[in-house]
Subunit: 116 residues, 2 copies
């Protein structure tokens, strides 16, 4: 599995400026809020948590629909938001896409709120 993080990765961009280190610009506040919003949703928190709880730390939509009690289109929609936010990595293998947490992504989101 390869983990791709580009210069435009939203998590990487937000990584190093905690909100308490200086008065935030409107642009930075917008960017940080968007990143936090990706995880500030009950189903998405559960999906992240379920993926982390898998033995091999990855899951396909087929593993996730039953535990969260939602249909595949809804689960896929939430997974896409987490992928777009730079929290999850998506890898297509055969008929299914497998999702894993990008190493360090949640730590970097947390670091926006609180410096390490």
């Amino acid at each position: 599995m390869t983990t791709v993080q580009t210069a435009t990765d939203p998590v990487a961009e937000a990584c190093c400026t905690p909100v308490t280190s200086e008065a935030l610009s409107a642009e930075d506040a917008q960017r940080f809020a968007q990143l936090l919003k990706a995880v500030a949703e009950p189903t998405r928190l559960r999906l992240v948590s379920l993926i982390a709880a898998q033995e091999n730390k990855e899951a396909c939509v087929c593993d996730l629909t039953e535990p969260v009690g939602l249909g595949q289109p809804t689960v896929s929609h939430h997974l896409k938001i987490l992928v777009d936010a730079g929290i999850l990595h998506r890898e297509k293998r055969g008929v299914w896409a497998y999702y894993s947490i990008i190493p360090g992504a949640l730590e970097r989101v947390a670091a926006v709120l609180s410096p390490r």
Copy 2:
């Protein structure tokens, strides 16, 4: 200034169970998401950041309206959400209420995403 944290403080309640430590229950996910939503908003991030940037680490609404470019009722509304979430402490002194970040609150919100 006294800092009041009760057993029903939302931040304190969410403090010790990172999302990646086990599969989250629907109830915990709801509670964590609500806490994250309090900060996942551009104006509220800026307010937290502006309060932290004050020399004495506290601010009244009168200090905050101009930098965020919003009226007092809107700023007060956002501050109330942060107080209700257990992020900010509010202390009435004379005609103004003064807001400060509850020590450790942001760190505990961050810890929901990532264990320390």
